[in-house]
Structures are given as C-alpha cells and as structure tokens.
C-alpha cells in the first residue's frame, strides 16, 4: 500500500482467501451491483478409506471495482470467511477494464487484513 496512511480496519479494497472459498456463489448472488464473477468446475476426489466425493474448484474470482459500491454485503454474506476488507485504497485505473481485479490481486491484499478480523 502506498500513499496516505489509513487505519488498518479501513474499507479500502476486498481481499479473497481462495483456500476458504467454496465457489458457493452466495456473494455473487447477493451483490447488488453484479460486480462479482465466479467460474468453477466440479472434481471428484478419491480418498483412501472414504467414498468418492465431488468438490468445487475455483477457476475464476473477479471483482469489478468499477461497479462495486463498497457496501460489504459480499463480506457479510460469505459463510466461509473467504472475503475481508483490506485497507489498501489506491487502485485507480486508466480504463474501465483496469478496475476488474482477478483472484491473484484479491489474494495479495489478504496480507493487509488486520489479524482478528471476523
């Protein structure tokens, strides 16, 4: 993060913990701005001693911050604590497509999330 210092609890940008995300689509469905795009696919996991089970594997998670209104409903809606507010705020872009941040950006902001954030 660069620029003017802000409190760690600031609502700057939304961070994603990919390991916690189950591709359940709840955030994308609750988002009033339709700014979350999720793609996933099913894989069957075979584990020793248990029956094969189907898991959802995340392929794409993108938030269009050009549409986002920072309401935080996605963070509230997430039942798996995969979304967090991060304080980083200076993400202006020179074109609308530059406001779309993919999972790799969203994951990197996870390091800024203050510890103990619910």
């Amino acid at each position: 993060m660069t620029g003017y210092p802000v409190p760690a609890s600031s609502r700057g940008i939304i961070a994603l913990d990919e390991n916690a995300c189950t591709s359940c689509m709840l955030c994308a469905r609750e988002c009033p701005d339709w700014c979350i795009e999720i793609d996933s696919h099913k894989e069957t996991v075979h584990e020793e001693g248990s029956r094969p089970r189907v898991v959802h594997v995340l392929d794409r998670f993108a938030i269009d911050f050009g549409l986002c209104m920072w309401c935080g409903i996605c963070i509230e809606a997430c039942p798996f604590d995969a979304l967090f507010w991060a304080p980083s705020y200076d993400h202006a872009a020179t074109e609308p497509a530059g406001m779309v941040h993919e999972r790799f950006d969203l994951r990197q902001w996870l390091s800024e999330v203050p510890p103990g954030t619910p």
Partner: protein, 148 residues
C-alpha cells in the same frame, strides 16, 4: 398540509438540522416521502413520512421550512416522478431529454436486461455451463420475471 406543519413543528422543537429527503416506491400503495431531521442538542433523529398515490403523485414542498430541501426535492422529482406543490422542480440529476423515472419499480434497467447475471451460475459451473438448458435457474432480484 399536515406535512409542512409536522416538519415545521419538529424543526421548532429543536430538530433544526435537515439531513435528507427521499422517497420509497410502495407500488400499489403509492409513494412514501421520507424526511430525516436531526436535533443537535438532544442528539436525536426524527424520521417523518408522508404518502401520496401513484395516480396523483404530489406532496407539498418543504422548501419554505428548509431551503436546503430544494435539491432533495428536485432529485426525488427526477428519480420518482413525484411533484412538489409550490416548488418548480427543474431536473437535477437526469438530462432534460431523459424519459422515465429510474427509481420507480416499473422502470426497466436496460443494463440488467442485457447483461448475464453473475449469480445464474451454480457452484461448480462456468459461463459455458449456462448454455445448457435447465428447468430451474436462480433469478436475480429486482428484474422482470421473464426471459427474453
């Protein structure tokens, strides 16, 4: 004219800070116009509401009580098509050529009709899976219940 009288009474009782005025589309029950006042000494808020019908969508203006209500009433006139008696509400937010009132429930949001809802996909699906016909798909709230 109890609307003006009620707001005036609240102001004279100490709620001197005019916060905002907006409206709610109640569909069959018409419109509700909501005004929030703040009492800076008692530190209390006052939410005042009035109703009007869809067919005769107009309420008295509050500009005589709070001059600052003028912008709010112009915005409500733009977005809900509610008239304010005694206030010539020139368009504030919308271009003069704009047709319709975007915050009315019957107003169709063209971008929502044209774009695929991101939530239509189920867990474990991507855009390609949406091409497969399905009897039941999740539908977004606030859009018309038909498929083009």
């Amino acid at each position: 004219m109890t609307w003006i009288a009620d707001v005036t009474a609240a102001r004279d009782a100490g709620a001197v800070f005019f916060d905002f005025l907006t409206a709610v589309d109640l569909e069959g029950d018409g419109f509700e116009v909501v005004c929030r006042l703040w009492d800076p000494t008692a530190r209390t808020e006052h939410l005042l509401r009035t109703r009007c019908t869809r067919t005769d969508a107009r309420v008295p203006t509050l500009t005589g009580v709070f001059a600052g209500a003028a912008w709010h009433e112009r915005a409500v006139a733009d977005l809900f098509g509610i008239g304010f008696d005694g206030h010539d509400t020139a368009p504030l937010l919308l271009p003069a050529s704009f047709e319709g009132h975007p915050l009315r429930k019957e107003f169709v949001l063209a971008s929502r009709e044209a774009r695929q809802w991101p939530g239509a996909k189920d867990p474990g699906e991507s855009d390609a899976d949406l091409a497969v016909p399905r009897r039941r798909r999740a539908k977004p709230l606030g859009t018309r219940d038909w498929s083009p």
